[in-house]
């Protein structure tokens, strides 16, 4: 997509690079991180971190009125041999180690969950098959906590699938030991009415690499907050995201990478397509390079493809740099539109309109999908994208 964005009506792209400024990533949050929900006031919608989110559609997750129902959500973990899968109580020491809730809903989830699921890959264990976690909504309300821990030099792929209908708030912790390699694919393939708000915390050990692939197709409101911190130098994080926002859906991805340790890398690429009236995608890409994080190399990018009138994109990359001793730091955001001229060109070569749209959207996502590196997931995503398109064309 061209660097000079063609921004349709109803789209905003903002960006800033602050050098040695007051830490606005922190200061613009309305409260300090905390595990206790009472430390956060009930948001009213004008706060910086809530201003894009339709609070009235959160079904009470933000104001304490959403009560967990018995069988709200079923979680099923399929793990290859060598992996430990446990259900633990609230007092387990491994919970909350990767990060602290930063907003009211994450703190609500932490304050309200009953049992947590902990999946552990022992040190130096290299898995050849993925760990599959199926989260299926049965129409109820639930608060969840999931931990995935990799010992030193362990390697694993984890696929978390969200399906069905639910109102779910959760925290997901990824703990990577030194030299560990973890790929996590989180697929939000919810039914139309689902509401899903979650904070993902990754704590990356020395020389470890973390790849997160967030794929959001479904739901009424999905608001995810993937965050990365480094426990030692040499860590790498790749955060990929792909969303397809349809008519009436609100899909929000708010990322924060905190470079708190020297010589770490991060690369963020999120791409989304939107179609239909009141489709709303929000992407916030915050990267903070602290004074101690010399030798940091970071890049973040968001691309949006608007397929029809009536959709809205808010894309806000934000980079804060407290040291000049870095390898590189950059960001880009562009929202392009599949326009009438492109459509005319393809149709003038005999290609029917729905086929032309398919061609363009497939092309838009293909490069990103290829970087996932998990073959069956790549194929499934491409098939899912086709499905979304078919539904829209029909």
């Amino acid at each position: 997509m061209a660097e000079a964005p063609n921004i349709p009506v109803g789209s905003t792209t903002a960006g800033s690079i602050a050098v040695a400024a007051e830490s606005t990533v922190v200061s613009r949050m309305s409260a300090s991180p905390s595990f206790d929900v009472t430390d956060f006031p009930v948001p009213h919608g004008r706060e910086e971190e809530w201003r894009f989110t339709p609070l009235e559609r959160l079904r009470g997750l933000h104001d304490g009125t959403a009560t967990a129902t018995g069988e709200g959500v079923k979680v099923d973990v399929q793990a290859p041999e060598g992996v430990t899968v446990e259900t633990v109580g609230r007092d387990d020491a491994r919970l909350g180690k990767a990060g602290t809730p930063v907003d009211r809903v994450a703190a609500q989830a932490y304050s309200a969950f009953g049992k947590a699921s902990v999946v552990t890959v022992p040190k130096e264990t290299v898995l050849t098959e993925p760990i599959r976690i199926a989260v299926h909504g049965e129409g109820g309300t639930a608060y969840g906590h999931q931990v995935v821990e990799l010992g030193a030099f362990a390697e694993a792929v984890v696929v978390i699938d969200h399906t069905g209908d639910a109102v779910l708030a959760a925290n997901v912790d990824y703990l990577l030991g030194d030299g560990a390699k973890l790929t996590v694919v989180s697929v939000q393939d919810w039914d139309d009415k689902a509401v899903h708000v979650a904070q993902h915390n990754a704590l990356i050990g020395r020389d470890a690499s973390f790849k997160s692939v967030v794929v959001t197709f479904g739901g009424d409101v999905v608001r995810l907050h993937p965050r990365v911190e480094y426990a030692g130098p040499g860590g790498e994080a790749e955060l990929f995201g792909l969303y397809f926002t349809d008519s009436g859906q609100h899909q929000e991805h708010r990322l924060l990478v905190t470079h708190n340790t020297p010589h770490c890398k991060s690369n963020v690429v999120y791409k989304g397509a939107l179609q239909g009236e009141l489709a709303h995608a929000v992407w916030i890409g915050d990267v903070l390079i602290e004074a101690a994080a010399e030798g940091t190399d970071t890049y973040e990018m968001n691309r949006n493809l608007v397929l029809t009138d009536g959709a809205r994109v808010d894309s806000v990359p934000n980079l804060e740099i407290e040291t000049g001793e870095i390898v590189g730091a950059g960001h880009a955001s562009a929202t392009g539109r599949f326009d009438d001229e492109q459509l005319f060109y393809l149709m003038a070569r005999g290609i029917p309109e729905h086929e032309a749209r398919r061609l363009v959207v497939r092309g838009f996502f293909a490069e990103l999908v290829q970087q996932i590196g998990v073959t069956d997931i790549e194929e499934r995503l491409l098939a899912k994208i086709e499905q979304e398109l078919e539904a829209s064309v029909a």
């Binding site: 997509m1 061209a2 392009g336 009438d340 001229e341 492109q342 005319f344 060109y345 393809l346 149709m347 003038a348 070569r349 005999g350 290609i351 029917p352 309109e353 086929e355 061609l359 363009v360 497939r362 092309g363 838009f364 996502f365 293909a366 490069e367």
Partner: protein, 254 residues
């Protein structure tokens, strides 16, 4: 034999909240195997004719008929026109990010031919067509028109012309912005298609230069939204020497 018949075609365009008539009664018949050059000053409506025939949504047909072998072209959607055998080589081909040339060509050929070309013969067909147009094989992996130079865009248009084998090819200022070498290569491509005898060619141009490479059977002077004079190749020589002044003075409205 394929015949494109344009009768009393009137076309308007919306601009600055006003409706403006651009084509004011165009009559033209292009038969398979013939080459017609349409020449005229800037703003005379030549490109509007090309885009109206292809079905661009910006233009509104307010009168007249266009038929291809008796079929009503104006009733067809843009893609139907292409599948019926009309091809427009565009003056400003648009970028289509994320779609590779190779994918685009195959999708297009599949649509036009009604079935997917067999992969092995198709790869060879494309490779040879690209070689004839002096196009590097790496071209096929680039995104459609993205970052193409002016010459590359025009070669890419002619490559499609060669692969899609239309009944009627409309070339809209294919010569503009080309240096002599590129003009020769592009013209050779057009001539290869013409030599098949199966295509009617409508060559729209401002300059006579391209007519040294592509010899027209008929030359039409376009001014003020219609054809004002028709003749053989000798009419182009006259335009070369005298320019369009005789046609624009007083008479034309633009």
């Amino acid at each position: 034999m394929a015949t494109l018949e344009i009768r009393d075609l009137h076309v308007t365009v919306e601009a600055d909240n006003a409706t403006k008539e651009i084509l004011k009664g165009v009559d033209l018949t292009v038969k398979q195997g013939e080459t017609h050059a349409i020449m005229g000053p800037n703003g005379s409506g030549k490109s509007t004719l090309a885009y109206s025939l292809a079905g661009h949504p910006k233009y509104t047909i307010t009168g007249g008929t266009v038929t291809l072998d008796g079929e009503d072209v104006l009733e067809m959607s843009v893609d139907e026109r292409a599948r019926a055998g009309l091809f427009l080589a565009m003056q400003y081909p648009v970028e289509v990010p994320g779609v590779s040339v190779s994918n685009f060509l195959r999708t297009s050929a599949t649509a036009i031919r009604g079935e997917a070309p067999k992969l092995r013969t198709w790869v060879k067909e494309v490779k040879e067509a690209m070689e004839r147009l002096n196009m590097d094989p790496s071209f096929a992996e680039r995104n459609v028109n993205e970052g193409f130079s002016g010459g590359e865009k025009k070669r890419h248009e002619i490559l499609q012309l060669e692969l899609l084998k239309p009944k009627v090819a409309i070339l809209d200022e294919t010569d503009s912005g080309l240096d002599v070498d590129a003009l020769r290569i592009v013209s050779e491509g057009v001539n290869r298609v013409r030599e098949s005898g199966e295509v009617g060619t409508l060559l729209i141009t401002h300059y006579t230069r391209i007519l040294r490479y592509i010899k027209p059977d008929h030359v039409h002077v376009f001014a003020g939204g219609k054809i004002v004079e028709s003749g053989g190749a000798e009419l182009a020589d006259k335009l070369e020497n005298e320019g369009y002044e005789a046609y624009t003075k007083g008479g034309a409205s633009e």
